[in-house]
Subunit: 206 residues, 2 copies
DNA sequence: TACATTCGTACAATATAACATACAACTTGG
DNA sequence: CCAAGTTGTATGTTATATTGTACGAATGTA
């Protein structure tokens, strides 16, 4: 319950901040991204027109933010450059991010025996959120459901964890993994050794 | 250029199977997704037109795959429904899957000292792929670049791992984490203890 | 049941995307 | 240096995206 609420709390705040971003029309952003990507690859408009099957004039218009291309045109561009739509729509992300273990404080610490550390916050592009969960022997933690569509992955780093969900119990050890649709109550139970789990929450496109 | 060519090569040969894309034009896919999302929310075209500021007739045309909307129109739709572009482009997901450690065989086993076990295969909905990597002390592994847009997460379960990328070296220990854009060569170097890492590959929406 | 409202589709008018071609400025090769 | 090639921009034409309105069918209400 606390965990779920926390998770939701993080989601709401992180998500909306990221969403409140585009002050510029989307076609202008796309234009800028396209020009950057083209120049990074040292391509002329002519060359790009060849690669993508979109006219040189149109590409120039797009880059200058003077036209709002159709999705088909964008698709051609993305395919020709072997890109995703994201690369055309989103600004360039940082390349390497390290999160040392000691750099994080638990966001949840029930009686100290169940500790949740944020590793990577919700990322709008990947829709992925990563936590490190540490449980002391014998600790039981009940989670309320996440919103519909959220999927949870548990990657056991060490120790032993039992997961109760949908009336079933799954016992997992180091190296084991479990994924589940997380929109129902589930309970974690730590075995007789300290347990560390990488927990991934994957949010649906929404 | 060489790098770009390499990336393209990998994309074509390694990932095209996983990404087995439909042969349908993108605007038809978008139409289908839009209609599904609209109906899931119990909205009429009228209501959707209100929410998005796109005309009812146009929305109907899009849903029927009869028109290739501009990026501005798509943006309006996404914003009105509080969606990402991905949700408009990608189809929808599926309960509990457990992958015991012993259930998997390494897909990569270079001289035995570097072993990659698939945990969760590429999932079209989450665009996430999970591996467990085990390295013996002193082992070095050089990775070729992944396609553009792919992001790699390394969650250290145990041991010590050094990651060389972009001329920088990051040393990670149990509980540490790293995420990076994976479209460039990178090298893993195991410390003096056996190392286990959860490796996540997140593919951009496409 | 009759009437009102809602729904998705059709259609004509308007706006704009997308193209091919031309052109001035710049770069490259002999 | 000059000619040829390349580059991004401008322009007119065509295709199509987008709108507002009308309409028949379906649904809801008294």
């Amino acid at each position: 319950m606390v965990h779920t609420r926390e998770g939701r709390f993080l989601w709401v705040n992180t998500f909306s901040d990221n969403r409140g971003e585009p002050m510029e029309p989307i076609h202008v952003q796309i234009g800028r991204n396209l020009q950057r990507l083209r120049k990074q690859r040292g391509l002329s408009l002519d060359k790009l027109a060849e690669l993508t099957g979109v006219s040189k004039g149109m590409l120039a218009q797009i880059e200058r933010g003077e036209s709002s291309p159709t999705v088909t045109t964008l698709w051609k561009i993305a395919a020709g450059l072997n890109l995703t739509f994201s690369a055309l729509i989103e600004p360039e992300p940082p390349t390497v991010t390290v999160v040392p273990r000691v750099a994080t404080s638990p966001v949840v610490e029930e009686g100290g025996g169940y500790r949740v550390y944020p590793v990577f916050p919700f990322d709008r592009a990947t829709r992925l959120e990563v936590y490190r969960v540490e449980m002391d022997p014998g600790v039981i933690h009940a989670s309320e459901p996440h919103p519909a569509g959220v999927e949870e992955y548990l990657l056991i780093a060490e120790g032993e964890l039992s997961v109760d969900v949908d009336g079933c119990t799954y016992t997992l050890r180091a190296g084991d993994a479990l994924r589940m649709v997380a929109d129902r109550p589930h309970t974690y139970r730590c075995g007789d050794r300290p347990t560390r789990v990488h927990m991934l929450l994957v949010y649906p496109p929404r």
